[in-house]
Structures are given as structure tokens and as C-alpha cells.
């Protein structure tokens, strides 16, 4: 019987491993060449990996939730009987995140009697020598953990609920190249099951899981504080309105975001500790000599942070164009891995929807996040009368390990000066 191994190909872009979100095939399925077989999540993108060969699925080497290193065998195909297609290139489709959007719907209780006497369910049944209570065995099943493979930490090798949860939350949370921080001390309390129709439980998978992990880690290790300020933006509004008209000739929509980014870059040059990282493992402060500005995008799949790379070398027009493209890709779930990598500081404009101020969470390993909020009219006393003033609120959220409150206040002052006075912004804008 001829068998062929389907490996996880090198997806490039520095990715060394990915979390298996979902098998798209099961044992016994017939697979065509180039048919996607598995949904994998790397960094923040979900990709579908196709099989380069045709055949019958004989063995699945990993289970959902596993972290799979590149070049490891994902599944074994029995190529007998199947048309032996020439090995196609195994480049995974990197723009397959729409599948992630479907995932929650699939996980909800549905009528799916996926029958057959084969082992078409996962995890396998707990062996008779596995020492775990019925509730723990069920937890393992429901969270997709093979309890047979666990080393119980309890008395006499008993597998505890915690062991199962740990196995579920398993490593690989932080992309390679970033400072890995200990996550094991974070408690993972369970929420009592209300039972029956009172609730619906959906596995924490894919991008949502990644967001959860990142947020939890950031909040866990970074002592956050947020400073809030308002800036009068009458001149900025005027400048942007005029710029918008010019840009329309090029077919580009200019928003406030590139101007804010430019002001941020200029201010960060004065205050380099905002465009930095804390390497906890090495106990070093990393000052970055480049400006890759992340911007938070709300998408159907959850929060994504595409990055304008080397924003300090780009014109407002270029940046506007790029922001438009990336935001579009984010909404369609087509962001590539590379689109979301390497930010040195992030801007969030959630405030454009609602909210006077927010207290955002820093995108680790960055040390600051700038919040911008909606423009509002306010009356201003000019000594004689009240006139219309346009104001915009800003927040700067900082890692207090590196940035002190007074520094943040000075940073904000310098930033707001550029926002309120575009001629100053133009002076040091590259």
C-alpha cells in the first residue's frame, strides 16, 4: 500500500509553527491534489494548507489545538486507488481567513451524525489505565485533549482538571522572535456549567484564541497606565479637508489617521522610549530605529492590527493608500501574515465609533498605544465671545516599567502641539 506523507510546508515570513485550528478532512476521506486539508493559525492569520497529493486519508498526525512545527508530517495519505497526480506545489493559500469566520458557526451544536465504525472522533477514548475522574475525562473530550497522552500531576499520576487545561492552553502562544514570557502562572479558572439549554459552549479557537492569549499576556505583564488629553483640531480638520480633495484626483481617500501617525512618529523621535520594547528574557530595553505603525482594525473575525511599515519614509498620500488597502484586506479576512508583523507602536481609533476616552491594551511587545477619538464641536471663549472649536481626544497608554507619568505627560504635550499646529507638524514631518 503506497502511502505519502503530507507535510506542513515552510510558509515563509519567519513562521516556524502554527496552531492546528481544524481538520478539514477526516480519516477515510478521499482527498484531491491541492484540496485544503487543514486550517492552521500562524501568528494572526488563519491559513488553509492544501495537500499536494491525492489519496485516502489514512492517519491524522495532530489534533486540533496542537502546535505544529513546519516540515512536520501533518497527515498520511494512502495513494492507492486515487489518481496519482503529480505533486503540486504545496504553497498554502495565505489568504484563507474567511474560513475562520465560519468556524464558530460550525462549532455550535448542529445535527451532524458523522458515522462509521472507524475512529472518526477525537480525542480517543481514555484507556483503562488513565486515572482521571469522569468529569475530567469529559473536560478533556470537550476541549479536544487526548487524555491518554497526559502526564498526570496528581497523586499516583492522576490527571487533574488543571492538567487538561494546561495541555489545552499549551505552548506556542508567542510568535518566534518575540520575547517569550512565562504564562504558566496565569490561573485558568473554570466557569460552572449551567447545563442544558442555559448556555452554549464553543471552543476557543483560532484568531479569537490568539487575541485572548495576547491580551491576557499583555495585561498580565505590562503595568498599564493611560493619560488623556484633548486637542483643538480646527486647523487639522481644515488641512485634512483640503488634502482630501487633492487626493481624490489620485483616487485615494485621505483620513485623519496618516496625519496622526506622522505626529506620532515625530513625537517618538523626541521620546524614543515610546518606540521601544522590553525584552524581559534578556532584561534589556530595545530602542527601535524604525517606525512601523500598527493600526487596530475591527473585522468580522475579530481585532486585527495591520502595520504600515517604515511609515516615516512614506508620504501621507502613500500611507492613506496603504491604510485603505490593508483595512479592506482585514475586513475581507485576506490579510497576509506579513501585513500584521513587526509593529513598533500602535494607534487605535475605536473612538471614532463611540467613547470619549478608552483605556486600550498595549500590543506586546510594544510599550505604548495611542488612542484617537471622534471630533466634537465645543464652545471656546476667545475673550469676547464663544466661538466654535473642534476638538479631538487622545489617550496614550504606556508601559510604566519604561515610561513614567511625567514623561507621558510631556509626550502628550509635544504630540498635541503638533496636532493643534500643523505647521509645526510639517516642519519635522518626513
Amino acid at each position: 500500500m503506497a502511502t505519502q506523507n503530507v507535510k506542513l510546508p515552510d510558509v515563509g515570513e519567519g513562521v516556524t509553527e502554527g496552531e492546528l485550528v481544524r481538520w478539514l478532512v477526516k480519516i477515510g476521506d478521499s482527498v484531491k491534489a491541492d484540496q485544503p486539508v487543514v486550517e492552521l493559525m500562524t501568528d494572526k492569520a488563519t491559513v488553509e494548507v492544501p495537500s499536494p497529493f491525492a489519496g485516502l486519508v489514512k492517519e491524522l498526525k495532530y489534533k486540533e489545538g496542537d502546535v505544529v512545527p513546519i516540515e512536520s508530517v501533518l497527515l498520511v495519505l494512502d495513494s492507492d486507488g486515487a489518481k496519482s497526480a503529480a505533486p503540486a506545489t504545496a504553497a498554502p493559500t495565505m489568504s484563507a481567513a474567511p474560513t475562520a469566520a465560519k468556524a464558530p458557526a460550525k462549532a455550535a451544536p448542529i445535527m451532524s451524525a458523522n458515522c462509521g465504525t472507524g475512529a472518526d472522533f477525537y480525542p480517543p477514548v481514555a484507556g483503562s489505565n488513565v486515572l482521571a475522574t469522569p468529569a475530567t475525562r469529559r473536560l478533556a473530550r470537550e476541549t479536544g485533549v487526548d487524555i491518554n497522552g497526559l502526564q498526570g500531576s496528581g497523586l499516583a499520576g492522576r490527571v487533574t482538571q488543571e492538567d487538561v487545561q494546561k495541555a489545552k492552553g499549551g505552548g506556542g502562544g508567542v510568535p518566534a522572535g518575540q520575547a517569550r514570557l512565562p504564562m504558566k502562572d496565569i490561573p485558568r479558572p473554570s466557569v460552572p456549567n449551567q447545563g442544558g439549554s442555559m448556555e452554549e459552549r464553543v471552543p476557543l479557537r483560532g484568531i479569537r484564541k490568539k487575541i485572548a492569549e495576547n491580551m491576557q499576556m499583555a495585561k498580565h505583564i505590562i503595568p498599564h497606565f493611560t493619560l488623556m488629553e484633548e486637542a483643538r483640531v480646527d486647523q487639522l480638520v481644515l488641512m485634512r479637508t483640503q488634502a482630501k480633495e487633492h487626493a481624490e484626483k489620485y483616487g485615494v481617500k485621505v483620513t485623519y489617521l496618516p496625519f496622526i501617525m506622522k505626529a506620532l512618529i515625530a513625537t517618538c523621535r523626541e521620546f524614543p522610549m515610546f518606540n521601544a520594547s522590553m525584552d524581559d528574557a534578556a532584561a534589556e530595553i530595545v530602542y527601535k530605529k524604525f517606525f512601523n505603525i500598527g493600526f487596530a482594525a475591527d473585522t468580522p473575525n475579530g481585532l486585527m492590527v495591520p502595520v504600515i511599515k517604515n511609515a516615516d519614509f512614506k508620504t501621507v498620500l502613500q500611507m492613506s493608500q496603504e491604510i485603505g488597502q490593508l483595512a479592506g484586506k482585514a475586513r475581507e479576512g485576506k490579510l497576509a501574515l506579513d501585513d500584521m508583523k513587526g509593529a513598533s507602536i500602535t494607534v487605535t481609533n475605536i473612538g471614532s465609533v463611540a467613547g470619549l476616552y478608552a483605556t486600550p491594551i498595549i500590543n506586546h511587545p510594544e510599550v505604548a498605544i495611542l488612542g484617537m477619538y471622534k471630533i466634537m464641536d465645543k464652545p471656546v471663549w476667545n475673550g469676547k465671545e464663544f466661538v466654535r472649536g473642534q476638538f479631538m481626544n487622545f489617550t496614550i497608554t504606556c508601559d510604566h516599567r519604561l515610561i513614567d507619568g511625567a514623561v507621558a505627560a510631556n509626550f502628550m504635550k509635544a504630540f498635541v502641539a503638533r496636532i493643534e499646529n500643523p505647521s509645526q507638524l510639517i516642519l519635522d514631518m518626513i
Partner: protein, 482 residues
């Protein structure tokens, strides 16, 4: 027009009706097909009626033997109105079966009374009194149960040769009965018939009663009591045939090559049960059946056909109601979208003989077969338990078998009063992976039979309080005692 359902359950025994209720609870449009009576064998001609009769027999025995010791002045002969007893027994069954009907109704499960036959893997025809009906369902749960086996020379007619069903329905005392098969059903029915005054002879083909199904030490206690009560037991006896001679029946048996004739009035045939996999069109639609007649299923009780599940007796050993119910809930939840698989460590088993036998986990012989021989075994007699003595039911013991190193409980075997009600603690202990200390250190209320469990665990650790254990060595917990 075919009626369409999400789930159709075939058979309304303790597997089927439970599965139907859970499926309905999960919002599935569910129906159940039953050809005889709701509740299946269990509620109508099995577990429940036999327990009613056993209770009555036990009650009578206690009046005859124990009540006078306690000072009751009763007539020497206590008369039993067998037909009234039958009425009471029937009222118990009717009540239980009616309860099932109400539960099904309350959960909006549609009930179809009639014989169901698969016409395709997606449709079933039900022939009932009011004609026939076609049901189409996305999922089928086959819970058709099992029925008694017959052996050559003996055909159940429920007149002379009775099955358990016929025996339970007797409304008069039978003078002499031959029970063929010394398994749990034969002994349960044979024992209560003896209580009501029948002369009972049990013929068992193997060399032991309850062979392989119960701990030999437990069986010994029961065998002794059977003998004391006047039940004759013939081991290694093969029933060859029977004939009617005038008003009596003559059963021919072969014991070690010698033929023997036993005269009696009724024959009770209890040589085992076989799965009901030959009806309902199961074979026609291509379901795989193993050589013993069980539908082939995996740990999720899925058959080889998509959307068809099988649970209970028809899906494999042990053929016990509570296993069927557990599977029923599991399968309904799988259909509801949950990830489930059968991973119970033990199915506790109870034999309602006198005294009762109950077990959970493994027997010593089974452990030995697995190569596990380093054991700690503790045994504590009911004779040393205050409640048992005050109940005048002191026969039997609890035996706990645990791993000598880890003290994790492998098996618990009980013979004695209320063994059936005591075994659940043992089942919980085994499912939880409990150690001897977990049982020994749990405070058990006094005075109860349950204390025996705690003391048996202590005995396995070498230091039970209410029996003398030697050698005495200045006991330290966990130390190795003989």
C-alpha cells in the same frame, strides 16, 4: 406521506426511552417506536417485575424465619394469595410504564406503537394496530434489546417450558420446578419461587453457579444459602430434553456422561439472552453484525451506516439496563452536537439473589489475566456490622481489591444485605480513581451497612477496627501488612 423526524428511536426500553427524552431535551424532533409495551423488557417483564416478586419472596421468608425470633406470633403457615400478588406486581409495572409514557409525552416525544422495520437507512415502516406508517429520520437509534435463548430440546411455550416472562406471570404456586441455567436470571427467579414453597432444582452446565460473572467468594455465600433453603443445585449438568408423562414433566439431564431424570411440573429456561439484531430489517439495510449477533458499533455507538446508532443489549455486553441508559444519553448528546465517547471504567452489576451480590470493577481473576498480581485485598464481614446484626441479615461481606503500591481501587465485590444499594459508592470510587485511603477516611454514618465499605478499605490497608487483623505491628498508615 412519511413523517419526518430528527431522531427516531427503535425500542423503548431503558436505553431507548432515555435516549428519546434526552434528544427531545436537546431540541430534536424525536419519535420512539415500540412493538410491545413502553419501558421494554426491563419495566414490563424483566428488572422491575422480578424485583417485585423477589421482594415479596424475601418478605415472606423473613416473616417465616426472622419474625418469630423477634417475638412476632404469626401462624405457622403464612398463606399467600398468588393471584393478588400478581395483581400487585402488575400494578408496579403499570405504574412504571405509565411513568415512561408521561415522560415521553411531557418531552413531546411522538410514540408509535407497532413493529418497526427499516426499509432503507433513512426510513422505517411501523406496522401497528391502526395500519402502517413510514418514518423518515436524520438519525436512528436502534435499541431493540435482547431476548431469551433457547437450547435444543427445549422450546419456550410459556405453558410447560417457561422463560423468565412466563415465570414472572405465574399466578399459582408451582410444586416442582427445574431451572435450566444457573446464571443470574435463573437464580433470581428460582430463589423467589423457593421462597413461595416450590421445590427448585437448578441445572447448570458449567462447574459453577454464576460462572465468570461474579466473584467466586461471593457466589459461595449464595450457594450455601441456596442449599440451606432447600434449592438443589446440579453442576456440570447438561439438559438434553423433556417429555410429558401424564400430568408431570420429566427432564433428562446428562451429568458426567450419566443420564438422569428429574420430575417436575414446570421447566424454567434461563440459559442466557441474545441480541435482537435479526428483526426490524436491520440486516436488509446493510448494518454490520458480529458473530455473536451484536450490532457493530464504535465508542460513540455509531454503526457502520451514517446516522444510525445502536445502544443497549443489541450493541454489546454487558446486557444491563443501566449501561443502555448511559449509552442512550450519550448518543442523544452526540446527535445534539456534543463530543462524547463511551469511557466508563465500570458498569456495576447486581444479582438479586439471597443475599444480593453486587460488583464494580475487576475480579481477582480478571486482574490476574491482565498481569496485575501485586494487590491489597480487604474483606469485611457483615457479621461484624452493627446494622446488619440488628437487621438479622449478617451473611456476606464486602471485598475490596486495590493496587498494592498506589492503593487505587480496582474492584469491589459485595455479597450481603442491600449489596445492590451499596455498590454505587464503589462505582463512584472506581470512576474517580479513588485510593483505599479515600474510602477509609470518608466518614461513614453509624450504624449503617455502608460502614462495611469503610472497614473493608481499612482491612485492605491492614487495620480494620472491628475485626482482628494479624500480625499486629504498631500500625503506620501505608505500611505493608500481611
Amino acid at each position: 406521506m412519511a413523517e419526518k423526524f430528527d431522531v427516531c428511536v427503535v425500542g423503548s426500553g431503558p436505553g431507548g426511552y432515555v435516549a428519546a427524552i434526552r434528544a427531545a431535551q436537546l431540541g430534536k424532533k424525536t419519535c420512539i417506536v415500540e412493538r410491545e409495551a413502553l419501558g421494554g423488557v426491563c419495566l414490563n417483564v424483566g428488572c422491575i417485575p422480578s424485583k417485585a416478586m423477589i421482594t415479596a419472596g424475601h418478605f415472606l421468608q423473613r416473616m417465616q424465619h426472622d419474625a418469630p425470633t423477634m417475638g412476632f406470633q404469626l401462624p405457622k403457615e403464612i398463606k399467600v394469595d398468588m393471584s393478588k400478588l400478581q395483581d400487585w406486581k402488575q400494578s408496579v409495572c403499570t405504574k412504571m410504564s405509565g411513568g415512561v409514557a408521561q415522560l415521553l409525552k411531557g418531552n413531546t416525544v411522538t410514540v408509535f406503537m407497532g413493529e418497526g422495520t427499516f426499509t432503507s437507512p433513512k426510513s422505517l415502516t411501523v406496522k401497528g394496530k391502526d395500519g402502517s406508517k413510514t418514518i423518515e429520520a436524520t438519525n436512528f437509534i436502534i435499541a431493540t434489546g435482547s431476548r431469551p435463548i433457547e437450547i435444543p430440546g427445549f422450546t419456550v411455550d410459556e405453558k410447560e417450558v417457561l422463560s423468565s416472562t412466563g415465570a414472572l406471570a405465574l399466578s399459582e404456586k408451582i410444586e416442582r420446578v427445574v431451572v435450566i441455567g444457573g446464571g443470574y436470571i435463573g437464580l433470581e427467579i428460582g430463589s423467589y419461587m423457593r421462597s413461595f414453597g416450590s421445590a427448585v432444582t437448578v441445572v447448570e452446565a458449567s462447574p459453577a453457579l454464576l460462572n465468570g460473572v461474579a466473584d467466586p467468594d461471593c457466589v459461595q455465600v449464595v450457594a450455601k444459602k441456596l442449599k440451606k433453603s432447600g434449592v438443589e443445585v446440579i453442576l456440570g449438568g447438561k439438559a438434553k430434553g423433556w417429555k410429558k408423562v401424564k400430568a408431570e414433566l420429566e427432564v433428562t439431564i446428562d451429568v458426567g456422561g450419566k443420564e438422569q431424570i428429574i420430575k417436575c411440573d414446570k421447566i424454567l429456561l434461563t440459559v442466557g439472552r441474545k441480541p435482537n439484531s435479526d428483526g426490524a430489517g436491520l440486516k436488509n439495510i446493510g448494518l454490520q453484525i458480529d458473530e455473536r449477533g451484536f450490532l457493530k458499533v464504535n465508542a460513540q455507538r455509531k454503526t457502520n451506516l451514517p446516522g444510525i446508532f445502536a445502544i443497549g443489549d443489541v450493541a454489546g455486553q454487558p446486557m444491563l439496563a443501566h449501561k443502555a441508559s448511559h449509552e442512550g444519553v450519550m448518543v442523544a448528546e452526540i446527535i445534539g452536537g456534543a463530543n462524547r465517547a463511551y469511557d466508563a471504567k465500570t458498569v456495576p452489576a447486581v444479582i438479586f439473589v439471597d443475599p444480593e451480590i453486587a460488583s464494580a470493577g475487576l475480579m481477582e481473576s480478571e486482574l490476574k489475566a491482565k498481569g496485575i498480581t501485586d494487590l491489597k485485598i480487604g474483606k469485611f464481614p457483615f457479621g461484624a456490622n452493627g446494622r446488619a446484626v440488628s437487621m438479622m441479615e449478617t451473611e456476606g461481606f464486602i471485598k475490596i481489591i486495590a493496587d498494592a503500591k498506589t492503593h487505587i481501587v480496582y474492584g469491589v465485590h459485595i455479597v450481603g444485605p442491600e449489596a445492590s444499594n451499596l455498590i454505587s459508592e464503589a462505582a463512584l470510587a472506581i470512576e474517580m480513581g479513588a485510593r483505599l485511603e479515600d474510602i477509609a477516611l470518608t466518614i461513614h454514618p453509624h450504624p449503617t451497612l455502608g460502614e462495611t465499605m469503610m472497614e473493608a478499605a481499612e482491612a485492605a490497608l491492614g487495620h480494620a477496627i472491628h475485626i482482628i487483623q494479624r500480625p499486629l505491628t504498631g500500625a503506620k498508615s501505608g505500611e505493608k501488612h500481611a
